[in-house]
Symmetry: D2
Subunit: 185 residues, 4 copies
């Protein structure tokens, strides 16, 4: 029997009824039995400021970076704001990247999913993939999960209710298990 | 005689000795007489949260968005964090983009400059240019100002002391005057 | 009365029934009376090779570069192949950029449109916009024309038959007239 | 003893004294004993045209696609033309992607290196990485090889003569062996 994989889910949207956070909840529900997802709370993480960083990290930063460091893999829910990444998500990765030796992020497998407008968050996701190159995260290529936020795919509380997209999320979580096990060897 | 142009400079770096903020100070010093630059203070602008936005904008957001709306053009100092845009800069643009009719940003001319590591902030600047498409900002194509942050180009307080780069900044500010006057017609 | 604007349309797809070339034909039909579009034939333009370039440009290259240089503006139909620009389109721009002083492209206004799969050619269009920065083309921000190639929007010969997209193309051509006249001052 | 890995090197530059092809020659010389690199000749590959493709692939296309399909991994030398990918390189990948089931490219490990001007081909390399997402190539994150083409790093014939960059290429080839063996499991 293979060890359970512990995965941290981070949503770039801070609002309560976010469709992106809804995608993370769907991932949590639909993941294979050996993939356990915890959804992070990043509401208290302040904007990165190098002057603050040198004085000691704020507690909310300490907490999220420790959780990232402890995870076997990440699931990043990537909203698109104005054709690029939501600052709240990028900001958490920026804080995490400042650990000595990049040890919180280095070499971790990642699944990226997102909900957005016309292009379904894809423009933001490709920017996020470029970030992954430097911080040495290994994103899955496929399946890509690009959901339409303003559609019947989500209910009013941001829950994913579209069977096709739910299947895609389930497929992505299975792919993440395979990818993580390959990269852990 | 032509009217003075009022330009708002925004730096994506919050630290005191930032080289990116240093580029803005150089722009302010080297700008033609008819280009007046004010450097914005964005330290108090919180991360965008749609739930907060609907309750009324925080005062620091009100202030920065009003300044953006009043400016004839913007100068954006764009640090590169992990191959993309600094969240503090993107966040200000995201807040500004939520004005009804995008009236704070719509159609404004922009100069982009930045200091960074190996690729001198260029990777972040191209992401920022993609943001400009949606929010309908018109960035100058040339000259691009990509400075090396960890070099003799800056002193320990982040002041730009390299004559070649100072010339480039001066050229860019002249180009911004021309570009702004063309687009205002 | 204002002078007629002469615009060159270039499609990145070489196949006869291309939807991207269909978008150019729609642009030609729907353009305002003072915007005259010629659709270029680039089938004979060979792949750029610096060794050939120094020996003298091939005749097909001479012809297309002369047409680009003579145009007041460009309309680029941008297919998406594998999430980036079609080589046939990029190749023409690369040849044109080698003119002394970049005089064929320098400062020209551009409208970009495209038809593609899931993301409707948008990923390729943003790469093309980055190319425009260096060669100093000035693309319109809006309206963006991103059409779905595999849909009822086109007939079997690649003709654009969707009224909403036709309206968008007409709007873009009007915006191109305005943009060109502003930049020509 | 582990099986030899057969790798195909493809350079996006067609000129004889190309620094990008020079990087491939350095990779060939500096690769570990169990990594055997063949440098492809792509000079005869015509620009992709869907009408030609349906009539049967040209012989030069058949040859390069067969070599790609047979390789355990790829090394792509990526020149930067006008801030994006050289059409000759993109074109080969586009042809290869048209194999039924994407079987020529699907899942292959890739090392990307390049030589260029001011930003050392990096802008083109990030576009190429976006292409890899769709065609399901797995590029190495690190080390990135971004060499300055117009420098003492290369001799007049495009040979890489800079010891630091040669070390980086050697490191990348070792990383490619590790990455390929991990992904082959």
């Amino acid at each position: 029997m293979r060890a359970e994989l512990n995965v941290l889910g981070i949503s770039g949207s801070l609002r309560k009824k976010s469709t992106n956070t809804g995608l993370l909840r769907a991932a949590l529900q639909l993941a294979p039995a050996d993939l356990k997802i915890e959804i992070a709370d990043i509401a208290e993480v302040p904007l990165y400021n190098a002057d603050i960083a040198t004085q000691g990290k704020p507690p909310a930063v300490e907490r999220i970076v420790a959780k990232i460091a402890a995870a076997d893999a990440l699931v990043l829910a990537c909203p698109e704001y104005n054709y690029s990444i939501a600052p709240a998500l990028k900001n958490v990765l920026d804080w995490a990247s400042r650990e000595p030796g990049n040890k919180a992020l280095d070499g971790k497998p990642v699944a990226i999913l997102g909900a957005g407008g016309r292009m379904a968050s894809s423009r933001a996701q490709y920017h996020l993939r470029q970030v992954c190159v430097f911080v040495n995260l290994h994103p899955l290529n496929k399946p890509e999960v690009c959901a339409h936020a303003n559609s019947d795919s989500f209910d009013g509380d941001g829950n994913l209710v579209d069977d096709k997209v739910r299947q895609l999320v389930a497929d992505q979580m299975r792919a993440l298990v395979d990818w993580t096990r390959r990269l852990q060897i």
